[in-house]
Every structure is written in structure tokens, then in C-alpha cells.
């Protein structure tokens, strides 16, 4: 194979000038002409945002306490700055190799261990081009979130191509987990492990156990992965999650802290430590970790207002109320024109003032938060609504708090995690029994509405079912079960009665809504498939 580097737009990222120069010479001797350089992660992101590069050569280590190559990749990919055809190669010293390969979500196209010759570099570039051709259609299907299609391509390749067999198996395992076919995923990983005991297969097995609620097996599996592979970072996070759900909060915190020692630059992990140590009343650790998350999150897409409110909550427990208020104050400048962030800041102020014994200011902040909440057009995350409800309870506004909780139950009536958190808050507020009653009656109300609609569908009264679910969905914008059933009734109607543009677009809206609430919702792939076949039929 031959690739023409002339006219390709190339970016070299390294904090050492000499390394950049060496690499530039090497690329030029291979025929490259359009080469840009960046000396830091932030500078690189700026360049990537402005120019659509064909090839990016990025050093992993870009200086202590600065953004590393992995973060550059994550940031750029998350913001959609890197096109699919772009080749991203991570250059590493062999001592960071494992760290790079244990990265969670975004993987570079290839790795190169320093030092490397220009023949090696060319060889890797060619390899990536070939790989992009082999995996292009799967990647593209995944970007469209068309997971069933991606699985189908994996199956086809597995039948005909022996060379990348384990690569396809690994991808297929991920996809099976995404669409929620856990039993199938378990058997895929077990098959792989019968051939070879690979860490990703063990971790995959752990995820399948975790997602199907088998927490003890999940815990053991992830523990065994980290025991044998100290730098398999993803497994620590899953292990901590399993421990947390098993109620072993102290152990979960320990695992996350071990992971943060090995790989300290993950914003999400620092935030997770902040959260869990707060729950463990270890406010020193909580403060420290949230502060790490704040400083790592500067200029990162992963920064979020909840890191700031978390920090404020930890600070006020340490009698540093004033610092807590100033942290909340900085939310405004860090997240300009973001009403959701303003809401979180106001809730945080309500809680902090309350703890400081400044009743009037607390009431004022909570009232402001309640107003902001009403005016917000977009859906507010369940955790934020819970915080708002908690703040309402704590200033004595039980009615408003209860109303917010009811709304949450209505929208998440089958989500056990949300429900148990809601019950927990009621209990903290000494409203355990009342809370349980409210939760039960609200759940029953939604179940009844849902069952009525399902019966209509079963009895073939599709038009009626559509109206019924349309009504219900309007008041329950975050209830994925109701919306999925609304979508299904419309799609079944279309399947039976043929083309109807209004209904087809309605179904499309429902599907988009489900994807927003929970892109990994189990029923989504089947609905998408139904949608595709109905839309196909309408074209003819």
C-alpha cells in the first residue's frame, strides 16, 4: 500500500521542541508538506477546532499537571472536532503504554512506542488506513447509534475474516451490552475466555453481570481483572460502581482512590471520589478530589456545575461556608448563559446558607431555584431535581418538595435506583412513611395508565392507544417506558395501515426523545428497526 502524504494536513503535538522537530523532519522525509505543531494540549485543541486535520501525531505525556494526549483525544472527539477519516496516532514512552491502553472510552487509531523509525511510522499510518477501511461501516453504524446494524456487520465479518477476529468479537461484545442482550454477551465473553483468558473478556463478563443486576459476580470479576492487570483503569471504575450498589461505600472509595493514584488525571474519577467520600463523611478527601476535578476540568468538556456544587457541599461541612459560597459564585462565570448551571448554583446556595444558619438567605435562594426550575424548557437531570426537593424540605417547604418528588416518580416509575434515592431523601427528612405512600400511589397511577394503553394495543384499538399514550407522554416527558409504548403504538398503526406522514414524524420524535433520556434503553434498537421498516415501506 502507498499513501501520499503530500497535501495532507498534519498536526504534531509534543511539549518538547526537539521531539516536534525530529518528528517533523521524519514526516517531511516521507513527503509531507502541510505540518502544524502544538506544544500543549490546549494549543492543540485550538488548532484542531480551526483546521480539519488528516493526521494527528500526539505525544501522551504533555507535561505534569497538564492535559495529556488521552485528554486531547477525548476532548476533540467528544466535541466532534475529529472527522472519522482522520488518523490519530498516540506516541508513548513504553512506561505509559499500559496506561494509554487502559483508557476508557476513546481509543486512538494506533500507538507508537518511542523511539520509532520513519519506516515504522509509515507502516503504522498504512495500517490505520487499512483498518479504517475494514471497520469503517461498523464505526459509522455506531455513530448513527444503529447498534443492531453494527452487530450484523460484525457477524458477517466474523464469518468471513479470520484476521481481526478478536477485534470484531470485542466490538460485538460492547454492542451486545449496549443493546441490552446480556445473556448473549455473557456467552460471547465465555467463548472468548475458553480460547484465551483476556482481560477485556473478563471485564466484559463483569459488565454483563453488573448490568443484569448480578452484583456479587460482577464485583468478583472486576476484582480479578485489577488484581492481574494493575493498569486496566476501566475495571476499577466498574468495581467501585459494583461495590457502591452493594452498599459497600468505604470499599468503593478505597478502590477509586487506588485508581486515582495510578491514573490521577481523570476528571470523572476525581468527581466520583468527591461524591462517594462525601457520602462517607470523609469531607477532607471530598474537598480535595472535587478541587482536583475543578482544576482538571478547566478547558475540558467534562467540567460540570455538579463538581462545583459538590465541592461547596463538602466545604460547608468543614465549616468553610464562605469559601463554599465563593465556589458557587464562580459557577456563573464558568458556565455563562447556562440556565441549568444557574439552577444548580441557586440550589447549592440554598443548602449552604441553611447549613450556615442564614435562614432568610437560604429561603431566598431556594425560591429563586424553584422559579428557575419552572422556567427551564429543557429536561433537568433527576439528581438536580432531588437536590432542589431536598433544599425545599430543609427550608420547611414540604409541599413544594413533595410535588417535585411526585414529578420524579411519575417520570421514573420503574427506575429502582431513582426510586430508592427518593425514598432515602424522604427518610432523611423524617418523612419515611409519607414518602413511601406517595411513591406507591404515584407508581400505581402510572402503571395503570400504561396498562390501559397496552391493553388497547393488544386488542387492536391502535388509534385509541395512540391518543391515550400521546396524552400520557405529554405530561411525562422523561418517562421512557410510556414514550416507548407511544412510539410502538404509532409504529404498529403505520405497519398495519401504511403511509401516514404525520404519524411517521410523530414516531421519529418519540424515538429521538427516548434516545435523549436513555440512549442505551433496551427497547430502543427494536423500535428503531421497526421504524426503519415502516419508513422503507412508506417510500414505495
Amino acid at each position: 500500500m502507498y499513501i501520499d502524504l503530500n497535501r495532507k494536513k498534519i498536526l504534531i503535538i509534543d511539549d518538547f521542541r526537539d521531539f516536534r522537530k525530529g518528528l517533523k523532519n521524519m514526516m517531511e522525509s516521507l513527503g509531507a508538506t502541510g505540518i502544524d505543531e502544538a506544544a500543549s494540549g490546549d494549543a492543540a485543541i485550538e488548532k484542531i477546532a480551526a483546521v480539519s486535520y488528516d493526521i494527528i501525531l500526539c505525544d501522551y505525556n504533555l507535561g505534569d499537571s497538564k492535559k495529556d494526549g488521552q485528554q486531547v483525544l477525548e476532548d476533540a472527539k467528544h466535541r466532534g472536532l475529529i472527522k472519522y477519516s482522520c488518523t490519530f496516532i498516540m506516541c508513548t514512552a513504553e512506561n505509559t503504554m499500559n496506561m494509554v491502553m487502559g483508557a476508557i472510552e476513546y481509543q486512538p487509531d494506533e500507538y507508537l512506542v518511542k523511539p520509532f523509525s520513519k519506516e515504522m511510522l509509515l507502516n503504522r499510518l498504512e495500517k490505520v488506513v487499512k483498518k479504517k477501511m475494514d471497520f469503517g461501516d461498523i464505526e459509522q453504524a455506531m455513530q448513527r447509534k444503529d447498534y443492531l446494524q453494527a452487530i450484523a456487520v460484525c457477524d458477517r465479518r466474523l464469518a468471513e475474516d479470520n484476521r481481526n477476529r478478536f477485534e470484531y468479537l470485542r466490538l460485538k461484545g460492547d454492542l451486545l451490552l449496549k443493546v441490552g442482550t446480556y445473556a448473549e454477551a455473557v456467552s460471547l465473553y465465555a467463548d472468548v475466555m475458553a480460547i484465551r483468558d483476556l482481560p477485556w473478556a473478563r471485564a466484559g463478563l463483569g459488565k454483563a453481570y453488573y448490568l443484569s443486576g448480578n452484583l456479587n459476580d460482577a464485583k468478583e470479576m472486576f476484582q480479578s481483572v485489577v488484581d492481574d492487570n494493575v493498569t486496566y483503569m476501566e475495571a476499577y471504575d466498574w468495581l467501585a460502581r459494583s461495590l457502591e450498589e452493594l452498599g459497600q461505600l468505604k470499599e468503593a472509595q478505597e478502590i477509586l482512590m487506588t485508581a486515582a493514584q495510578i491514573s490521577p488525571k481523570s476528571i470523572l474519577r476525581q468527581k466520583a471520589i468527591g461524591e462517594i467520600s462525601y457520602r462517607n463523611q470523609d469531607y477532607d478527601t471530598s474537598e480535595k478530589s472535587y478541587k482536583n476535578a475543578v482544576s482538571l476540568g478547566k478547558n475540558s468538556y467534562l467540567k460540570s456545575p455538579s463538581i462545583y456544587t459538590g465541592l461547596a457541599k463538602a466545604l460547608v461541612e468543614k465549616q468553610s461556608g464562605d469559601e463554599a459560597l465563593s465556589v458557587l459564585g464562580s459557577i456563573k462565570s464558568e458556565f455563562r448563559d447556562d440556565e441549568g448551571a444557574a439552577l444548580q448554583a441557586a440550589i447549592g446556595q440554598g443548602i449552604v446558607y441553611q447549613k450556615m444558619g442564614r435562614e432568610e438567605e437560604s429561603k431566598k435562594a431556594v425560591a429563586e431555584a424553584a422559579l428557575l426550575f419552572e422556567s427551564l424548557p429543557a429536561q433537568v437531570p433527576a439528581e438536580v431535581v432531588m437536590d432542589l426537593a431536598t433544599a425545599c424540605f430543609s427550608i420547611g417547604d414540604t409541599d413544594k418538595g413533595t410535588q417535585l418528588m411526585k414529578e420524579l416518580v411519575r417520570n421514573h416509575h420503574e427506575d429502582e435506583k431513582v426510586i430508592s434515592k427518593i425514598q432515602g431523601i424522604f427518610t432523611d427528612m423524617k418523612l419515611s412513611e409519607e414518602g413511601a405512600k406517595i411513591i406507591n400511589s404515584t407508581r400505581q397511577e402510572i402503571v395503570r395508565i400504561n396498562n390501559q394503553g397496552v391493553r388497547m394495543v393488544e386488542e387492536g384499538r391502535l388509534k385509541e392507544a395512540i391518543d391515550h399514550f400521546e396524552n400520557a407522554a405529554a405530561g411525562l416527558p422523561d418517562n421512557k417506558i410510556i414514550i416507548a409504548n407511544a412510539a410502538q403504538s404509532v409504529l404498529l398503526y403505520l405497519q398495519k395501515n401504511g403511509r401516514d406522514d404525520h404519524y411517521l414524524s410523530l414516531a421519529g420524535q418519540y424515538l429521538a426523545q427516548i434516545r435523549r433520556i436513555d440512549p442505551a434503553y433496551q427497547k430502543l434498537p427494536k423500535l428503531l428497526e421497526l421504524f426503519r421498516s415502516v419508513a422503507e415501506a412508506a417510500k414505495q
Binding site: D18, F19, G22, N25, M26, S29, A93, E94, N95, M97, N98, M101, V113, K114, P115, F116, S117, K118, E119, M120, N123, N162, R163, R165, F166, E167, R196, D197, L198, P199, D228, N229, V230, T231, Y232
Partner: protein, 230 residues
């Protein structure tokens, strides 16, 4: 100033210095390669000396990489990263890395490997082992090298043979590839074989571990190195 025994431990200190040295060497290696490339096409009279320099630098670099890896294994900081590899691609890439030197010495390399042979191993580590063997071949082979891979009873055997004078008797006799054979007089430290044996042993599957074997003779009549991976 920190007194000995305080603060950073000495081995750690050494390791970070070795790491720094390796970075410098990496830069020298890159420029050496450029210079050799530019020189030999111009028919420059110094290119023989330059290529000798390149060989020594590479050797130094390999040694440092091996030292660091051994240190990290010892500190339990190194995790073996096993992946599925197309063996013929792997061999081709390793030869590519050593191409300039082998070409310079006029060493002819023959590869014998089934096209569809895929095997599980740590690409990085095994590549370090084979690189080292090929670098030695620059010094010891006359003009021929044969790299072969095949499956044998659940092991993948990767063999590198040359038509040089073979391994010295003392090396063949020692079954344990430890560092006791270090000889400053002959310049042979045994590090390469020690590293290879260590790396082979880290590859485990279904209760079986990898190992290495050296002998003389073989197809080309010289040294013959084999690594067996389960």
C-alpha cells in the same frame, strides 16, 4: 539535599535516570537514521562509520529498554498486554525496524510464516526480544538470516537463525538464562537472553508458560534462537 535513605528510593532514582537517558538516545537514533539515509544515497565515505554508530546506539537503546522493563516488572508496574496478532505482519514490522542496518551489512532475510497464523502475545515485549536478536545478527551473521514462525503443540514457535559462528559453548551450556554469565571481557552481558526468557515466562495460557531455546546449526548452520509462546 536529601540524605541517602530518605525520600526517593535509589532504584527508582536510577530508573528515572535510565528513562531520561533513553529519551536522549531516542533523539540521537532518529538523527542518526536521517543522517545515514541522506549519506548513503550520496555515497559519503563516512557512512560505514555512521552505520556502526547507529548499530551501537540501537544496542544501547535496546539495553536500556530491557533494563527499564525488568525494573517495572520487578516493581509490579508492568502489566503484560496480550493481544491477538497476525504473526506475518508482526515479523514484517520487526524486520522493517531493522531494515537500514541489515541492508547496510548486506544481510539477506528470509521469512517463513503461514499467512493466516494469528497468535496471542504482548506485541511490545516480543518485539523487544526479536529486535534485540536482529540487532545481534548485525554483528554475528555473515550474510543470511531466516525468521520462521509456526504452531507446534499449542505453542507458537518463533525462530531466528543465522549463518554466523553460533553461540559460544558457555552460553549453550547454561540452561538458566540468568545474569550470572555476565562477562565484561567478552562484552556479553547475557541481558538479552535473560530478558527474552523473562518475557517468554510472562506469557501463560492454560497452565503452560512460554520459554526460550538456543542452539547452533539449524538450517543456516549458525546461531539459532527460538521463543515458544503458549
Amino acid at each position: 539535599m536529601t540524605a541517602p535513605g530518605e525520600g526517593i528510593a535509589f532504584p527508582e532514582f536510577l530508573a528515572s535516570i535510565v528513562h531520561d537517558m533513553k529519551n536522549s538516545l531516542g533523539m540521537i537514533l532518529t538523527s542518526a537514521e536521517e543522517t545515514v539515509g541522506a549519506c548513503s544515497s550520496l555515497g559519503c565515505p563516512s557512512s560505514k562509520r555512521l552505520s556502526q554508530m547507529q548499530y551501537e546506539t540501537k544496542r544501547l537503546n535496546n539495553n536500556l529498554v530491557q533494563l527499564l522493563t525488568i525494573y517495572k516488572m520487578d516493581q509490579a508496574q508492568y502489566t503484560v498486554h496480550i493481544t491477538d496478532n497476525a504473526v506475518s505482519d508482526f515479523i514484517a514490522e520487526t524486520i522493517l525496524q531493522n531494515r537500514p542496518l541489515l541492508d547496510y551489512r548486506g544481510i539477506d532475510v528470509v521469512t517463513v510464516c503461514p499467512d493466516d497464523l494469528c497468535w496471542f502475545f504482548d506485541n511490545n515485549l516480543i518485539s523487544g526480544v526479536i529486535n534485540n536478536i536482529l540487532n545481534n545478527a548485525y554483528r554475528y551473521a555473515q550474510d543470511r538470516l531466516r525468521i520462521a514462525a509456526e504452531e507446534q503443540n499449542g505453542f507458537m514457535v518463533l525462530t531466528v537463525q543465522d549463518n554466523g559462528s553460533g553461540y559460544p559453548e558457555s552460553m549453550l551450556r547454561s540452561t538458566e538464562h540468568d545474569l550470572k554469565g555476565t562477562s565484561f571481557r567478552t562484552g556479553s552481558t547475557g541481558l538479552g537472553l535473560y530478558f527474552a526468557a523473562l518475557v517468554a515466562g510472562l506469557h501463560k495460557n492454560k497452565g503452560r508458560s512460554g520459554y526460550i531455546d538456543i542452539s547452533n546449526g539449524g538450517e543456516l548452520g549458525g546461531g539459532c534462537f527460538s521463543i515458544y509462546l503458549p
